[in-house]
Amino acid sequence: MPPERQASPPLRVEAERQAILPLRLEAVTLRMGRTTLLEDIDFRLTAGPCTVVLGPNGSGKTQLLRICDGLVAPTSGRVVWEGPAAARAAEARALVFQRPVLLRRSAAANIDYALRLRGLPSQERARRIERVLTDTRLADLADRPARRLSIGEQQRLALARAWALEPAVLFLDEPASALDPGSTGALESAIRTIRGEGTKIVMTTHDLAQAQRMADEVLFLDDGRLLEQTAAADFFAEPETAPARKFLRGEIL
């Protein structure tokens, strides 16, 4: 369904950006060789709440994000963007990988690269680069080679690059997995700022404390299956399924 583009007055940026959501997954299964990585996943993500995908290592969290970001096609099932701007979904989403992937150029040039791919004019690129570098406290490092930055700085730069794209949906894969508590705090506050600007956050973590700090809604994955999609308060108070209860108690699943 092509979105109506003409004749309507310019929407507020936030409203326009959100227009690719909701995101619906229908019976999504992902197999590689004989291994089933995800099985029969159904959910619907709406604009607004911060969705945290929770689950033990190897439960399929990363694969789920890759499918949502369009990097892999599910073996079966469908991924549907239901919003009126669904046709533009590819450029309205961004993914920050667990291990930051930066190019051999300066920090600022890494962001510029991503913005060029979107065809933005140079003034607008410069404005966004300055803005996100400042807000991730990387402004002083703008001209430093990105791959020489510390791992924490690299994580923030990868986040800054995704942020500069002003996506409707931002997927974050274990964004703080390699960070010390101080850096984690800085990263989480940047994520909150991005969320405050109207970007839908979908992040994975295996860190319960982080999930409790960030989540409005929890998707609980175990062994490639989606066991729960619950409001965060309910999930942490009383999970519906036994594996989730075990996970919350810190037991090995």
Binding site: L71, E91, L95, V101, L103, R104, Y113, L165
Partner: protein, 233 residues
């Protein structure tokens, strides 16, 4: 004096005297192999990168063929080009046989597989690391190729040097399609072969020392440029 010692003296004298005949030979060597390198890079870099990230039926066979073609004997390549360019061959009417152009064509064919195969390996390793990020950022196929080649630039300099070294040092292909004609198609390697046959071993060895020295200089320069560039990235 031993022959080796004599050869060094000869080499030194050749350089110091700046013999115009020698200068011509050296210059033609650099020109022919340099042109072949430019052409082979223009073909081999993109081909290697495409094979690295595109999944298509027969890809494995292509990789095996590319890797095997790195070891193509220069005389065989020379012979193929000779057949193509000889008067009765399909490209005979162009009249290219026994010209420097024919030598460039032969050396290009010789080193395209080297550049393509090594590029394929380098880009494939790199793409494991960054290609998914590029796709996520919305890069088109062409943009991914360009970015991967640029990101691999330090490794690829070595790849190009390997190709250049192969071209500069081979004798089999250029002697067949060039004919080693003095002042026309004589290059360092064919001159060495000629002087050896004539029995002027010190001259042959002197030329050889010059050739090795040239290769060292070029590699040293490339290494220097690479280090300066690496510091900035």
């Amino acid at each position: 004096m031993s022959e080796l010692g004599q050869a060094f003296v000869t080499a030194l004298r050749l350089i110091v005297e700046l013999d115009p005949d020698l200068a011509e030979i050296v210059l033609l060597s650099l020109q022919v192999s340099g042109s072949a390198l430019l052409l082979a890079a223009a073909i081999g870099l993109p081909v290697g990168a495409v094979v690295a990230i595109l999944r298509f039926p027969g890809r494995r066979a292509v990789i095996v063929a590319l890797n095997a073609a790195m070891g193509l004997p220069p005389v065989v390549v020379g012979l193929l080009v000779y057949l193509l360019l000889s008067r009765s061959g399909p490209l005979g009417p162009l009249g290219l046989l026994f010209t420097p152009t024919a030598m460039v064509i032969a050396q290009t064919l010789l080193i395209v597989p080297i550049i393509a195969a090594l590029t394929r390996q380098a880009v494939e390793d790199l793409s494991d690391e960054i290609d998914e990020q590029l796709r996520s950022l919305g890069a088109s196929f062409g943009q991914r190729i360009a970015t991967l080649l640029f990101e691999g630039r330090f490794t690829l300099v070595t790849t190009l040097l390997a190709g250049y070294g192969r071209a500069l040092g081979e004798v089999g292909a250029v002697i067949i399609v060039g004919g080693n004609i003095g002042h026309v198609t004589r290059v360092m390697t064919t001159a060495i072969a000629l002087e050896t046959n004539r029995g002027d071993l010190p001259l042959a060895l002197g030329l050889g020392i010059l050739l090795v020295g040239l290769a060292l200089t070029i590699n040293g320069l490339a290494q220097g440029v690479q280090e300066v560039a690496r510091r900035a990235a």
